[in-house]
């Protein structure tokens, strides 16, 4: 029942019943969700029709042609990309009904309370405690690098519920109400001067047991769903030649002959070649996916992306000479969206330092390539059979 024609018919019915021109944006998005046209691969009653994911494009094309509003996916990326698939897989029926609709329409923004000051690459060592008290869990701890925390209604949270067992086994996954009085959000100012992220302090936050996702002690397994979905989002973009970081510096080079030196020229050409080759590798990966032969190249794309962004933006600051000594604006701001190539060269240089840290450091990614792609032996694990409370910290 969910072939292309059927989806077109349903989309047109939606448009006829709720003409975008005369319908409130939110009303339209809610109606779209209820019609199963939000994410067609989700189950019926939860914004979908149980259709193949690839057919979403049919719906999106019809809606775009009709000038229908969208749910501004860039603003609610953590909800759509990470929270929703986890709720879908591990949530109770009640949880799915409560959370997914306002998540998708953007009425409720989500953030992620995973990383901690003492648990970065070693996320499973996290120390935020959740202690059972009657029907509630009482949570105390500190989270960090939390995008959107200042606008979020809900958070996905992992916390330690059993310190007596090895670290991966004593974690439980919750949905945390960001309006709870024990939740304090402080902007975390970055080296760029702005604050994309926050620190989140949790002090006696009470979370009802009904907001637990998955079984007690199974939080690490649940979190894998979240993290795997995070990595799906990286690296799929198709760029033209000179797309990305190499674009602005090439433009400056052409327009400002007075800045050119032989040394800079050699370095620029090398980076231009590397950018082009990296683009070709991404394109080859895309072609493999289309042909149904996914390759392991994806594991390396973020490594290349981070290194090139950093080297190119560093060269660009140097190329600018006297202007490279200046910075556009150190004012503390809270941008809603991140744009790696936005603003000027100095900003690009500083922001790209985060590219080799966020979403898995380059060092961890190199281990992943070495172990999963090349099959080299895993790192020795001295923490595997030790209770969390006995770990060095």
């Amino acid at each position: 029942m969910t072939d292309t024609e059927e989806l077109r018919r349903r989309t047109r019915e939606l448009l006829a019943a709720h003409p975008p021109a005369s319908t409130d944006r939110l009303d339209f998005l809610r109606a779209r969700f209820d019609a199963g046209l939000a994410w067609v691969h989700y189950p019926e009653g939860l914004g979908g029709l149980g259709a193949p994911r690839s057919l979403q494009a049919v719906v999106d094309a019809e809606l775009e042609a009709a000038g229908a509003p969208d749910n501004d996916p860039r603003r609610i990326g953590i909800g759509l990309g990470m929270a929703a698939p986890t709720i879908l897989q591990y949530g109770t029926d009640e949880q799915k009904r409560r959370y997914l609709r306002p998540l998708w329409t953007g009425e409720e923004v989500w953030c992620q309370l995973f990383s901690e000051p003492g648990a970065g690459s070693d996320l499973a060592a996290l120390g935020t405690r959740a202690v059972r008290e009657g029907e509630d869990w009482v949570v105390n701890g500190q989270k960090v690098w939390t995008s959107s925390a200042h606008v979020a209604r809900w958070a996905i949270l992992i916390a330690r519920t059993d310190p007596e067992v090895p670290k991966h086994r004593g974690i439980t996954y919750f949905v945390c109400d960001m309006t709870d009085p024990g939740v304090e959000v402080r902007p975390l100012r970055q080296i760029t001067g702005e604050a994309e992220f926050n620190e989140v302090f949790l002090t006696d936050v009470r979370i009802p047991d009904t907001r637990r996702l998955g079984a007690v002690g199974e939080g690490w397994k649940v979190a894998q769903t979240t993290l795997n979905n995070e990595r799906v989002a990286i690296g799929g973009m198709r760029l033209p030649r000179e797309g990305g970081m190499i674009g602005p510096i090439s433009k400056t080079w052409r327009e400002r002959p007075e800045l050119r030196t032989h040394d800079l020229h050699q370095r620029l050409l090398k980076l231009w070649v590397e950018s082009e080759v990296s683009r070709l590798t991404a394109e080859r990966l895309r072609q493999q996916l289309v042909a149904g032969q996914p390759g392991p190249e994806g594991a390396g794309m973020k490594l290349a992306f981070a290194r090139l962004n950093q080297e190119i933006s560093g060269l660009e600051v140097e190329l600018l000479g006297e202007e490279g000594l200046l910075y556009d604006d150190w004012t503390m701001r809270r941008p809603e969206l991140v744009d790696f190539t936005g603003r000027d060269a100095g900003y690009r240089y500083l922001r790209s330092k985060g590219n080799s840290i966020e979403g898995g450091t380059s060092e961890v990614l190199l281990n992943i390539v070495a172990e999963r792609v090349l099959g080299l032996p895993a790192e020795p694990r001295t923490d595997k059979d030790v209770a969390w409370k006995d770990l060095a910290r």
Binding site: P257, V273, E283, L303, V369
Partner: protein, 357 residues
């Protein structure tokens, strides 16, 4: 956009070439041959050409070739690179063939396509596609002069010689004195060609023929370089899983894991660049940028991979007995062949309007 994958036919071709090389081109054999009077493996050449028709991939069917494209020739070169096979494939079936195609030299093309005649373009191996090359003197209808650094000339039956009148001449190898040079790359040896009043058959204008030949050579060399890099990485990873020191596999040390992961990323990139160059040559679109990018990128990757193979194999990698040195020598020589990475970057600067100061 280029097709950067391998077709089913290309995969089948690869499997056939790899089988043949596995049976007839093992490392001890190649090492032993390098110290003999006949470093080239002509029996293997016969199997690749007479048996499989691979010398004619770039030659149209009406001239008894296969009418295939640079994409297929690139796959053959990947495999020949993996085996550091001492056969004149790149020099005869690609470079000399392209020069003859530019001249419309049908009879010679038929002979080269069959593999029964081996051709060599008499231009030094280090010359980049846009660089100056040496021409011999054309006087009273005869050719005079000495050319150095001619790859695979020792087994060539016909030499394609640029002369100072602007012509490209076919010279029977018997009419020239070919003297082997002691070469860094033992598996693609160089020779000097001395012409002392040799007769030559005028094929056409040298300039367009040489440019076209060198460009195709540079572009497809990237596939050979990818083959060299892929083999050295794979073999190094295999060895480091096996080799134990300090009571654990050496490949488990993070300092080495990270180096190998970085190298893997370079090798993956080199494949995309090489496929792009082969596809561009086949389609005749965006060829100059694709070739210069591929050569500027793949040449240092092959060298890096071979250097890492020697270092990470450590003691055994330094021996004559272990094949790592064959790959190191091939990779280093390849990085100079048909233009250095720097020469290609310089050419690229003009192509993409990133001009020097």
């Amino acid at each position: 956009m280029s097709d950067l994958l391998y077709s089913e036919e290309e995969d089948a071709l690869r499997a056939a070439v790899r089988d043949l090389l596995t049976d007839h081109c093992d490392a001890p054999g190649v090492i032993a041959r390098t110290e003999s009077d006949t470093p080239h493996h002509l029996a293997l050449w016969k199997a690749l050409t007479g048996g499989m028709g691979l010398a004619g991939l770039l030659v149209p069917e009406e001239l008894d070739g296969q009418g295939a494209t640079h994409r297929e020739a690139a796959v053959v070169l990947e495999e020949l690179g993996r085996a550091v096979a001492p056969v004149p494939y790149l020099t005869s079936a690609v470079v000399a063939t392209e020069a003859l195609l530019a001249c419309g030299a049908d009879d010679l093309l038929r002979a080269l396509a069959a593999g029964t005649t081996i051709g060599a373009l008499a231009v030094s191996l280090n010359v980049a596609p846009n660089a100056a090359y040496k021409a011999v003197r054309h006087e009273d209808g005869l050719l005079h002069g000495e050319l150095t650094g001619i790859a695979d000339a020792a087994v060539a039956d016909v030499l394609l010689v640029p002369a100072d009148d602007g012509g490209l001449y076919a010279v029977d190898a018997g009419a020239a004195t070919v003297t082997p040079q002691t070469s860094l790359d033992l598996t693609r040896p160089l020779a000097t060609v001395t012409l002392d009043g040799a007769e030559g058959l005028l094929l056409g204008d040298a300039e367009p023929a040489v440019r076209r030949a060198l460009r195709a050579g540079a572009g497809l060399l990237a596939s050979e370089q990818f083959g060299v890099a892929e083999w050295t990485l794979t073999e190094t990873v295999r060895y480091l899983k096996e080799r134990k020191q300090f009571n654990r596999p050496v490949g488990g040390f993070q300092a080495l894991k990270h180096r190998l992961a970085q190298l893997w990323l370079e090798v993956v990139n080199a494949r995309a660049a090489a496929r792009n160059a082969a596809d561009a040559l086949a389609r005749g679109e965006d060829v100059d940028v694709a070739v210069t990018v591929a050569q500027a990128y793949a040449a240092p990757v092959a060298v890096h991979a071979a250097e890492e193979a020697v270092q990470l194999h450590a003691g055994i990698g330094m021996t004559w007995e272990h094949p790592a040195h064959l790959y190191l020598k091939r990779a280093k020589a390849d990085s100079i062949a048909y233009g250095t990475p720097g020469a290609h970057r310089e050419a690229l600067a003009a192509l993409v309007d990133l001009q020097a100061p």
